[in-house]
């Protein structure tokens, strides 16, 4: 080989190296970036972005398609990380696309805009436009959203006629939500004039939007509007707001529901032309919007009842989560008391303190102490040991048995417990709580866990933990006989007898009563007393019912749970003590947003007054809530039915017949009710008495 050959060889190598740098390396980087990204490497996303930035033409569009458009959501206004309803919130869409990148709004805008400007006009362009529009809408930029959709419309060739129409429909919908009815109507008219197949997605939605416009223009129709802010005044932009009918709230949110919108740049939302009905506002947020904050709602406190013509304003204020001080971070308590402490909440009149027991897949919660007036409290461990809690079942072999760790509750020294607080104002309205989304270092705070290692397991406890429940019960009974001060054994006896009765689908039997009575004076949770009231009510020992109810009332300082109070009211009606019964039911109704006993309350009012007027009004004001659409009776309709039925010359006779029928209904005696039903002739009265006998 000569020198010139060598030089030629080096030149060839150099050239191929340059080729490698310019052509192969970028491709290799793309492959590497994709791989890193898909494997969730630390820099996966930024590598990918760099690759997208460095590429051009078809390569670039292909990357944006694959990583941004394909997994993005197309103007789906229900697609949020967290949906918060009334008291229950659920996380949605977190892991539906495991490889879905967490693009920021700015990133989406940048790349989708590029795509919309330069990429070939096809189906992906339509999706890119819709996704870009959604990002703009979440920022309250309606005009930009409309422009993006329009741009795609203009770029699409004729062969994409259908997509073109869809884009127009999407624009019309945005106009409707922005209350620009004329513009929406123009677009819909344009669409109606073109050829659209009947009974298609397009034709259905055009019709739906048109009727929505008619509703919204109707000044006599109801409207619901408001503003969503944080408690510091920050308006929340791009929050999904969903006005959901009571018939819809038992299933998860769908795009098909009629009242879906998003807050604008000032946090405002509004629904116009809402048809009469009962509604709840659900809101949709992303993790960064909910992190460290909570929407303070409780079940059944947020219902919106529309009868037509109302202009309601419902503002929503997100509150910061309460920070817990002690016991936290798995602190071990070995003394006889435990001191709970947390941040004071401005305007709070009292706090409720809850404890939770761990389960394999979840937790069991119970109230440890309610109506605490300061932001700390020292509780005797006995209070925790006697906290009422549900119990769960676990599978042993092929059998389902009660989980002994849940039966032991806070008396189990090896369980890791947790706690939380809720703050209420003087009217009993929830202000904020300590439980919620804690997704970064600042919001995480202390972990709300602690251990109670004051007591050691007894022999009976160990039998229980070994799933030998019957032997454990005998051992607890023996231990209690040896030492009448052994409250733990006493509590466990009551609990285990309760489990046995429940397994036979029976209420607590007479064998539990001696134990319950011993426990009654010592148990400040009031659960023992409720059980005793229930027992004596069933056997008709009214003096004992009264005795234990007044003990409960005293122990709870008048804060008897509405359920127990309503049941006591029913027992009074059963005895014919109508005046007292009506009063108890009235108080229970006032404290029960679910209106569970409204039927019994209005029945007692009808009995007392001998007229239907007041009952009709109350039934309309306090509809019984239902999460299952048709589960609850429509008392308003039932009373109206009787009102119509009673008209005529025999009204007096009808009403006295009704009073007799109500007495039958109050008796709760099923045979008696069945006999009456067989003879009764007025259908509306029969329907009312049937509904009354089914209240539970």
């Amino acid at each position: 080989m000569k020198v010139k050959h060598l030089v030629a060889l080096i030149a060839a190598l150099g050239a191929s190296f340059i080729l490698l740098q310019l052509v192969v390396m970028p491709k290799l980087e793309v492959v590497m970036a994709k791989k890193n990204f898909e494997q969730g490497a630390v820099n996966g996303k930024s590598d990918l972005l760099q690759v997208i930035d460095n590429s051009s033409g078809d390569d670039k569009w292909a990357l944006i398609q694959q990583y941004m458009i394909e997994n993005g959501s197309d103007l789906d206004t229900t697609n949020f990380n967290v949906i918060v309803g009334d008291g229950n919130f659920y996380t949605s869409m977190v892991t539906s696309y495991p490889e879905q990148p967490d693009w920021t709004r700015d990133e989406k805008i940048k790349y989708l805009k590029d795509y919309l400007n330069g990429a070939p006009a096809d189906g992906y362009l339509v999706r890119a436009a819709k996704q870009l529009a959604l990002v703009y809408l979440t920022q309250g930029q309606t005009a930009e959203a409309l422009r993006a959709l329009e741009q795609a419309e203009q770029r699409l060739p004729r062969s994409y006629d259908n997509q073109n129409k869809e884009l127009k429909l999407a624009r019309a919908r945005i106009y409707v939500n922005a209350n620009a009815m004329d513009a929406a109507e123009r677009l819909l008219d344009e669409l109606s004039q073109s050829s659209i197949p009947k009974a298609s997605y397009l034709s259905d939605n055009i019709a739906k939007l048109k009727s929505q416009i008619v509703d919204q223009r109707n000044d006599t129709a109801s409207s619901v509007s408001g503003t969503i802010r944080r408690s510091d005044g920050t308006p929340m932009t791009g929050i999904g707001v969903f006005l959901r009918d009571s018939k819809e709230v038992y299933h998860s949110l769908t795009e098909e529901e009629p009242y879906l919108t998003m807050t604008d740049s000032e946090g405002r939302f509004s629904f116009k032309g809402v048809v009469p009905g009962s509604y709840l506002i659900y809101i949709g947020m992303n993790f960064d919007q909910i992190d460290g904050w909570t929407r303070p709602t409780q079940s059944d406190t947020e219902w919106i009842d529309l009868r037509g013509g109302e202009q309601l304003t419902r503002d929503i204020t997100l509150q910061p989560l309460i920070q817990l001080h002690a016991p936290v971070d798995e602190q071990v308590i070995t003394g006889k008391t435990v001191k709970f402490g947390w941040d004071a909440v401005k305007g709070a009149a009292y706090y409720n303190l809850n404890g939770t027991l761990p389960l394999k897949n979840g937790s069991v919660a119970s109230t440890l102490k309610d109506h605490i007036e300061s932001n700390s409290i020292e509780l005797p461990l006995e209070t925790l040991y006697s906290a009422a809690s549900g119990y769960s079942y676990k599978t042993v072999g092929d059998k389902e048995v009660p989980d002994p760790t849940t039966l032991l509750g806070f008396a189990n020294p090896s369980s890791r417990f947790s706690w939380n607080v809720e703050a209420y104002d003087a009217n009993g309205k929830l202000l904020t709580r300590s439980s919620g989304y804690r997704l970064n270092e600042k919001t995480m705070g202390h972990l709300p866990f602690f251990y109670l290692k004051e007591r050691t397991l007894t022999e009976a406890d160990q039998l229980l933990l070994a799933d030998r429940m019957d032997e454990a019960l005998l051992a607890y009974q023996a231990a209690y006989e040896r030492d009448e001060q052994d409250k733990h054994s006493l509590r466990m006896i009551v609990k285990l007898l309760g489990v046995k009765a429940a397994e036979k689908k029976q209420p607590l039997g007479a064998d539990s009563v001696p134990y319950l009575e011993k426990l009654a004076g010592a148990d400040d949770s009031g659960n023992t007393l409720s059980s005793l009231i229930d027992y004596y009510g069933r056997i008709g020992d009214w003096s004992q019912v009264d005795r234990y109810y007044s003990m409960l009332n005293e122990m709870k300082h008048g804060w008897v749970p509405s359920y127990t109070q309503a049941q006591y009211g029913r027992l009074l009606l059963k005895q014919g003590r109508f005046q007292e019964g009506v009063e108890q039911l009235r108080q229970a109704q006032a404290n029960d947003p679910s209106n569970r006993f409204i039927g019994v309350y209005i029945a007692s009012l009808i009995y007392m007054s001998g007229t239907l007027d007041q009952a009709e009004e109350l039934a309309g004001l306090y509809p019984e809530r239902s999460y299952y659409g048709q589960g609850s009776p429509d008392w308003s309709r039932l009373v109206q039915g009787m009102s119509v039925e009673s008209q005529g010359p025999n009204k007096e006779t009808y009403l006295s017949e009704l009073r007799e029928a109500l007495r039958v209904g109050f008796s709760g005696d099923q045979h008696h009710i069945d006999d009456w039903m067989a003879d009764a002739e007025s259908p509306a009265m029969k329907a009312f008495i049937r509904a009354l006998s089914e209240v539970d």
Partner: protein, 121 residues
Amino acid sequence: MRMKPGQEQERIRAKLEEELGELHFLKSAEVVARTHPRSLWSKLRALWNYELELPLIPIGTGLVVLLAIVLAAQLQDTADQAEPTSSLPRTERQLVVAGGNTYWKDDYERAVADVEIKNES
């Protein structure tokens, strides 16, 4: 007849000249320049055409290794250029509900491990 040596030489020369008279070495100058380079140009030309004996295998391997290192270093670079993020990308993260709160699973597990270490010490 016998010639004198001088005469003989003369005769052969004459004969050679006569026989080779039609032949000319056209590149004589070039040949000379090649065998005995005088100018820079000719020196370079000599170098250009210098015969080399190279061990192909070691040099080839060396080049391949060098190329690999350069490429690897480059790919490493692109990975390093990206801003370091403190936590895993969100796509890889899972939520966990514990003690009534919702946490990122990795944050939660780290926090629990931290408090356990702290409580032990």
